[in-house]
Symmetry: D3
Subunit: 253 residues, 6 copies
């Protein structure tokens, strides 16, 4: 099968790292196509960043559909634009946060989440609520490590991350840890060896779930909430989504 | 005070209608500046539409800030991009759904919501949850009237809408009705006269709340969750958000 | 418009203070009529006090109705007798706690509440639940300052209050603060200047919401839950509520 | 033991009926003292009625305390003034709704509630939430039988009540029924015989729980939330609650 | 009446202790028959222990039914096999945790639970959720005292238990305490004297509730969820449950 | 990898059917070992059946551990004894209900569950709550087809099942369907072809998740809640769980 693995951040280093993780987790018959948007922010660390990245990400979903992939993975822990992507895709779309929560809940009574900036905590909490995993999560902890600082993790950055993981285990009672950023993907093995508890990387989790759906022949139901959007006019820089004729309008009244 | 009243749909008719409603509700000292994005979908009726409109809408927030408005109103019932807008604005940003729920809860024990397409029901439900009004809402009902069909409401469309409102009152036990689309704004008075219960239009409600905050000197707290986003590089069609130097990157690995 | 601003505590100092706050917030066209019950406790600090004050407060609602006011405000943070007042009033009745939560949620991601006695914490928590704002509140904190000690706030009392506000901001993560007692109304400006975050006084918030409803022509729906109570006999000290003939009955069996 | 069984409605017929039920359920060593307020409404069917009855009821709690009873029962399905009563009483105070929910949950997977006026439904729902029994209740149904019409139940009134009970059983899936008005107390046996499911009358349930607490030596914890109210001045018709000297104050400013 | 008081742990010391507590709480007309399973673990301290004890416990319910008892009490704080027991019993089955929560909620605003091993905390939390008492519980605290160490409580074990109780009162704000193990039953009086707050032992609470139901003539509804299980074949060591003929089957395919 | 696929019902036909489904879903490198208990009920359709089957099932987990399997699947829709199994197993244990909910939530906005007996509805509802999927489920529907009648599905039984599925889709708004009994496993393909929506069989879903965990090297965290039970004495028919010496005790006091 072919998986369109999308890094919604426009930072090449993270895309490469994510691709490597995904490939390490994939079956040999799975082809991982790593992609990222041409437009948008280099990293997603605020609601503003996420709104911009979401619009940009949908172009990459469309490209994947044209390439006839069998699944899309949105490889950013906020699972941005997931519903919109499911509307325009014909094949499954999986977010890495949701995927990580699913597998974590299978191997631990309570899992913790260790993420990047304090500011992104509401995003994690919102996702836990959306997917229904709040009561299975012992807490979300921020490291205040910037997304881009994860491209090449220095020793002290790793120590900070590990210390926060330990607080999640010993203070919050976590029994497994979900890494709250696709950029932490390559640290899974080291953390797992150091902490001796299940460490769940959403990228790898999403790859396995995409393969699972594919092997079972399960696809997004296209009748109802995830049906294709109605055809309509799009203006300006979104004219490529335009299914009708273009229209010009005045802006201020 | 100056209010930036944003129709996130790119349909001029709705923008004009919303502006008229807002002006009818505003104090004489309030200046309503109606605006809409140059980019994006003519109407918002799916998660896909909303993602695109959200990115486009932020440009209009930025313009409003440059025009030194005292508040922004996002005049689409999904309250799209509300958190992102609050991050980049220095003055209050109000969504019309949230505003309508607030005033409705002051005049009725339970209020109903009557909206457009069945497909948008999850949006209303998500907003009720976000704002905490689920238990005060007797139900959300869709009319399956398309947003653009509200531009000039024919008699039969009005009858359909009124019939759905009556079901909300008599079957669900609503005691007030929230109109679930900015495009229904001009029907408030007629529905109110016909149904004899409080009819709450979010556009008018938002204007009053914006004026209230302004008169009390209350603005969005810019420390914490709604602080300004960190400076970072934006690529391609979002370079105008770029605070750093532009960077070029390869896309596929 | 005329607003019946009711202090349900029978302490004149607080009534004067509340009246001053309300007038500072009101439009010039709004007439604030400050009132308080002839009967009942001088301050409300327990469920017992609240039950007595509630019965007494309804007389003041009735007086306001006879004076043809356009709205009633119940200026005690417990929003006592709100439903009962809405049943007997024809115009909107607004509680200051509910009003404060509404405006606070428009300017901050999470707001804190700082109130008087520890014993009143369940009241605040019950109100947050009633109005649906629990998830938007970072916590309720008691100062253990008695209501009557707020009549003339000494320096050390202010310092205590400010210290508790700071704990709400720095320990709980509040981004705005709701003052949990009408008697704190006059400290809004000073706290706002000292703490540099939005400080929401429910009295002022309620005045703006009352004006908003009035300007939009919205009144309590009198069909359904807030309909007028059925006529029935009232005995003893409540005979003035008696719509039927008086009846005498034996008490013990 | 001595139980102060309070009918907060001032209708003698209901008081007598409740007393008879309570006595039928009590141990021979239990002395049921039926009482009702000198003041207040003849029946409680609205929030307004409840606020007035609540203030009046507290006098009867005080009388009971002076009579050195061992427990108080508030025999109105709204459990009015329960927290306030617990503050001023030294012995346990039990509401009949809470008592009924407790016993019902012991004999059925889901119980239904059949009550009087549609308007009182929110009261029942609020009580289910307060006590935490929402998920164990299959639904609350109103018969729209007025409280006073229960004094002498005509055949057709009984048929209506029974029909609503059957709907609770067959449509809602109730497996036991809680009678939602103290005035239905005398119908327990007949309904039980006709419907062949557990019928729980709150008056009887409360008597058994009061006896249970008494036999175990359990009393309300008077430290904390149910501690005695602080001494303070009460004005006007509530001067009998006045622990301090009386104070005169002007009312309007 | 006759009560089948079941200790699902196979430790005779605890059975004796529980029997003594139950007898101290029972009316003189109540006959307490203490029983325990012939099969299963000596103490229940994990989900594994509970599953085994649950199957064993049902035999003791069956014996009680054959002895024509009037109620069964499951005297282990996890209320194991409660639903299954209600299915096979014709008379009420009461769990001691549920019983304790009920009485505790009548004498305190918030109660705390003090239990044995940390590992059993999820059991208590699950029970609070099942019965709907989560919001009335200030917290569950583990002492890490093993169940069997409660058979003869040494001074230092009592001190540990009391210290944890004090933390529940002073740190969590509990106003009454529920003892989270039937084996603590005999410490109720001493803790009550030392701590001066209501101490609720589930064994005593369950006895009073069983008597209450019996005196009111209330039994488990046997139509619906607690109806008798369908007759079917049981294999191997469960053949005594077999209502049909025995059947032999191969195990591995 | 080796998977211990456990049918907790002692009916060979179902075990064979489940094994066939699992094998159709498994990778060629996965070895499915179908097993069932020597003891217990032939089908699980009540809480009583489930308690007995749970104790019996743990023996089969132990056998699997001795056979050095890499994962256990509990192939009964109630996910019986899941926590206990995780305590005694060293490798992952997956329940088919939880597995089905996970995959269903990836391909539909809301999924429905179609199960066997009305009486098992609370089991499904409890599982949705346990796993956090209540808000993603449009409803659980019972067909009242007995588990054993699924061994050889007659045409009319299939028609009934399909009709209930259609009600879930058209009346409840389900967009995917979870089959609520392992015995329906072989109907997945036919229902999928007939209904044209995703049909999720928990057996297949669990196989894919077991493979996913195995490939990622994730196992149950054995520190904390799922740690091995403490060694202790087991009496009678559970002596094979006995890690200590056997002890004899008297039963009745």
């Amino acid at each position: 099968m072919k998986i369109n693995l999308i890094n919604p951040n426009t930072c090449i280093g993270m895309t490469e790292k994510i691709a490597a993780s995904a490939r390490s987790a994939a079956l040999s018959s799975t082809d991982i196509i790593a992609s990222m948007p041409t437009h948008g922010p280099e990293s997603i660390e605020s609601a503003f960043d996420e709104v911009i990245a979401s619009a940009a990400l949908l172009d990459v979903i469309k490209q994947g559909e044209e390439n006839q992939v069998d699944a899309h993975i949105i490889a950013c822990f906020g699972d941005p634009a997931l519903d919109a992507a499911r509307e325009i895709a014909t094949v499954p779309v999986i977010g890495i946060a949701g995927a990580a929560f699913q597998l974590a809940s299978l191997v631990a009574y309570r899992f913790g989440v260790v993420t990047t900036m304090t500011r992104t905590l509401p995003t994690s909490e919102h996702l836990l609520q959306r997917y229904g995993y709040q009561h299975l999560c012992s807490g979300v902890r921020a490291t205040d490590i910037a997304v881009l600082d994860l491209e090449n993790v220095a020793d002290d950055v790793y120590r900070e991350l590990k210390a926060e993981c330990e607080r999640a285990l010993f203070e919050d009672g976590a029994e497994a840890l979900v890494l709250g950023c696709a950029g932490m993907s390559d640290l899974t093995e080291k953390l797992s060896a150091d902490l001796k508890v299940p460490i769940i990387d959403g990228v790898c989790a999403a790859v396995k779930l995409a393969e699972s759906l594919h092997q079972l022949g399960l696809k997004t139901c296209k009748i109802g909430q995830y049906g294709s959007p109605l055809d309509k006019a799009f203006d300006g820089r979104y004219q490529h989504w335009n299914s009708n004729k273009n229209i010009t309008k005045e802006r201020y009244i």
